[in-house]
Assembly symmetry: D2
Homo-oligomer: 346 residues x 4
């Protein structure tokens, strides 16, 4: 029997992407999509690309009303808003996959320092961080999934094997990342205008991006140590994609071939992780539209550094795709159901 | 039982697109891909995006050898080359879908005027023009499909209803089209370089493009009349997509609402044709990665002209997708098998 | 002695472009730039590219206050706003170059039909349409210049020679144009977002664009006849540039070589008009950043049509550059002063 | 009296850029441009953007012949080719600005390790590294200028103040850079095709780029120490621009305000260096088309790192503009002559 799914806050790019992927999911029936801004208008009016894929109309139903319709709820809301809606679905006994930042951190104080006062702090500790490659077993039992941020997904997946294997000096980690513009959402703002972005490239929120504590939380757990990293996000003139180039100093010598073997072993059986052949590096256009995370590896023997490069589509593995991967796990479906789609290249 | 398919000439963008779509086709087993340039190298080395989708290695096997492996052969070769290869597959009893221009025209003299001397003129008359929305019944019986050109697909589908209904003065037809760069293929040439294309927009081959006789052939048949059109292709700074804006003077008055009804009726049941709601027009980004042809309609009452705007993805409905749609028909599969994929937006 | 210039409404792309060009103009001293939104902030804070070029701060001074500072005022305001400001400058005896649509039309009823009620109708008839290649003598005497629209500039310059020479059937004119996104301004709106534009191409306001009466007004004057045209604007995924592909049926035979001679003769001595060599067509990237209008010509002998293709930078020849060209004329400076800058290619 | 200048190897993007800038240089007369590929064809046929700017035709004259025509020669040739041509001009008594890598290194062994056997090793030691902000006095006396590489220019200018002031632990320097596609030149190659680049972002030549020894040579001199850095170049889907994000660990505490003061002081009077206001960072689109190097500064107090971000236009400050800046110096012209042009934004 099909799973009844709903999307609360479905008019932004992440919401659209959930509709797009779920419309092709063989075991899911998408029953409701909400949007205050577009309530009463067909989703295909806002996204003509979806014509023929869905006949749903944006609703402004309450969380309570939506919870009556669905088994699983995806929340694609801004942080600070989600925390007020999630409890309704949880209390109604629904499984929730929250794509905001509201439940990703494990330490409430850290959340409230980087974000805002939390209105459902009691639920805070019950969420499972929805990175399947690291927390698959916990996800299976979860009723509230905190879907990871896009930058964190790319950086954590890139670093996990070397941290678990204690290969690097954790005080030397630098993550230099670049994201496509869809990461900034669909709200009209000057900095996301075509004329401001095209032909440009810049760093932003240097040393201040809110994904920093989320990244550190998971890297610290992987390494079993407490440390800070430097994380610099940049804005790319592309629609989709995140590339993270991560640097760290090696504590012990390793050959590139052994490093590749370590990654292959760590991610063995992982459907959505692709390790690039030696000497090749990922390109965001090679994962575009897919749930893949491509990882490339290099050693700079002159400086004893490892360079790990990972690429994801920020709207798929960095948001909607990973959310559906999580749904597949908690609903005991094949983990790649609905996600077994090749990247769109060129 | 799965259909055994092969692609002869599979290293260009159209070949890659065939691999991409066929890798997700539930009833097809892709058994061979050939490339002289990349013989011996895995397809995923040339197209890392395909990693995990295919394990095939480019072969330089002969047409005869490939014909022994497959039920259906896709030929993604330049015109002038295809005409030498097609006969081998046909003589071996295989069904052939030829994506070159070599068998699209019905008049050999026209072919030889616009292209070159034809080396398999005997087969020329046996090919079926593979535009399913117009020739579905003929395609069912065909052994050689001439897969339509990208510009022709967009223009013919846009004009078919008004020509069949004799609504316009055929001497007034102007097709102003714009194509993404993938239409120029993957051969390295200065005019396809990023720096030459990005930020640019230009017309090319004005009044001389080889798709002109193909377009006219089909428009003439639809109208039952002999006439020429003006066709102006432009190069867009995008990877995929063709938008054709077609102008014609009305012979009789019609309301926009009746015009929409005419198109809805003409394309009733057509899975891959989407008529845009009144007052809205297609965008190539709304069909990107899909087999859809979106059509928008306008009337310029001040000048008694109809304006028909159609959008396709040149690599899908304009090439590989339509080829697979044709294969589905000749193999008695569901016509949208493997093609039921939402466009990738944004 | 330097001309004292001011820009009223200088925070949009056209305003920025006026600052950019005027900052390099050897005979102009830019004394004030206004912006309600950014009042009190240095222009370089909004446009860091201008750093080192200007030290001006956006002011919210009144038109009266600004008129006390300057000899010439550029108004880069939305239509409907400009009509309330222009009279202040005119009454103060300043020369005004208005970049809005408020004074471009000669027939008040047409203005009020396509735009809105006019608040300074008395000044309406005194404005000179600021297309120097056609109205240089009138511009010399003007105190109020209505700077032409971007689409009209490209289409009128393209068609002027054939209309003056009565070469075409005016009832057959179709202008198919495409513009970069800067034409939509810097106000944040969903349709101008990078993710909505990049990779896309679409027609908009089909048969309804407000530039239509402006284009027809000037074409009718050139031809000495009363007729309507079909004009279809499209949105290009580029920052700058307009390409217009214009079609008309020839009334008399002409060779391409004679056509080129006609254009060369018509535009003889015009610094900013470049006729492309026979068989070549303009590209918007070849005029980017410059005040040039490039024009290419083709004859479609099969259909007896002429195809005229013109390219401009919408922010330069289509707005700020032409405004400064007009200022040069009314101030008796060399017409290309400050504008003698090569296009930026690639 | 005007300086007679020639460009040897003028058909690539750097050559074109030299023509573009020199065509507007008030004290230079460009007398010859050479190209084997395009010999006999007007430069404007290859670059229509230059129409009206130059009437020169590409010549295939020998270096000896060209040296008879000019005072100063710009060589825009591939490394390995330049070393054979430079001696001819030097022996003829001409001043040479070589834009290849052939004379940039001070240690012949290093050159021959990273590049190839050097054919004019005797001249090798006589070249001056043409970074005016560091070597202005040496440049004034030079007859052979080795124009710096694009990546090195951005990284060296960014790091010079902190190295001179011994502010950082030099063993921790990591330079993460991204370049527009024009850096790869105009030769047709698959990796520079629009469809391969647009929508993409990737690292390349990780740990192996030939600019590494050039960067280290200059950084070592600035610091007075011998050390290696990690340098990772990436390919951006833009035409022009390099952004370098450089990381280093601080040896001593410093406030951001003091850091800004240090940079302001170090670059005082430098026309082409712009330090971004505190809290703001450079964007390559804000230097596009100009000779500026914009530098932004951040401190990551959590990790004691400094983050220096610099932006240049790779074809201007990274190549042709800097070459002309060098020419201005050796010819005793105003250093910004011909280069005093605002960036083109948007």
């Amino acid at each position: 029997m099909a799973i009844q799914a709903a999307i609360f806050g479905a008019s932004g790019y992440t919401g659209q992407e959930l509709i797009r992927i779920l419309s092709g999911h063989p075991q899911v029936n998408l029953v409701a999509v909400t949007s205050r801004r577009y309530a009463g208008r067909p989703a295909t009016e806002i996204y003509p690309s979806l014509s023929g894929m869905t006949t749903l109309t944006y609703s402004n139903a309450t969380p309570q009303e939506i919870s009556n319709l669905c088994d699983v709820a995806f929340l694609a809301l801004p942080h600070g808003v989600s925390m007020d809606i999630v409890p309704v679905f949880i209390n109604a006994g629904r499984q929730v996959i929250d794509l905001s930042a509201d439940y990703r951190l494990r330490d409430l104080a850290v959340y409230e320092k980087w974000y805002a006062k939390h209105s459902s702090a009691d639920l805070f500790g019950q969420a499972v961080y929805g990175l399947p490659e690291l927390y698959r077993n916990e996800i299976k039992q979860a009723r509230l999934i905190a879907n990871p941020g896009c930058y964190p997904t790319s950086i954590i997946l890139g670093l996990a094997p070397v941290l678990k294997n204690k290969l690097v000096d954790v005080s030397t980690i630098i993550a230099d990342s670049a994201s496509g513009v869809s990461g900034a959402g669909r709200d009209p703002q000057v900095t996301s205008l075509f004329c401001e972005v095209d032909g440009g490239f810049k760093a932003y929120k240097v040393g201040k991006h809110r994904h920093t504590p989320e990244i550190e939380q998971e890297l610290n757990r992987l390494a079993g140590a407490d440390f800070a990293i430097t994380f610099t996000p940049h804005l790319l003139p592309v629609k989709r994609g995140i590339l993270s180039t991560v640097y760290a100093t090696l504590k012990t010598d390793i050959t590139l071939s052994d490093l590749h073997a370590m990654y292959a072993s760590f991610y063995e059986g992982e459907k959505f992780i692709r390790i690039c052949p030696e000497g090749t590096y990922p390109n965001i256009s090679s994962v575009c539209g897919s749930n893949y995370c491509d990882i490339g590896l290099a050693l700079d023997s002159r400086t004893k550094r490892i360079i790990i490069i990972s690429a994801i589509d920020n709207l798929v593995k960095g948001a909607a795709g990973q959310a559906i991967q999580n749904m597949n796990i908690i609903c005991s479906l094949s983990e790649d159901s609905g996600l077994n789609v090749p990247p769109l290249y060129p």
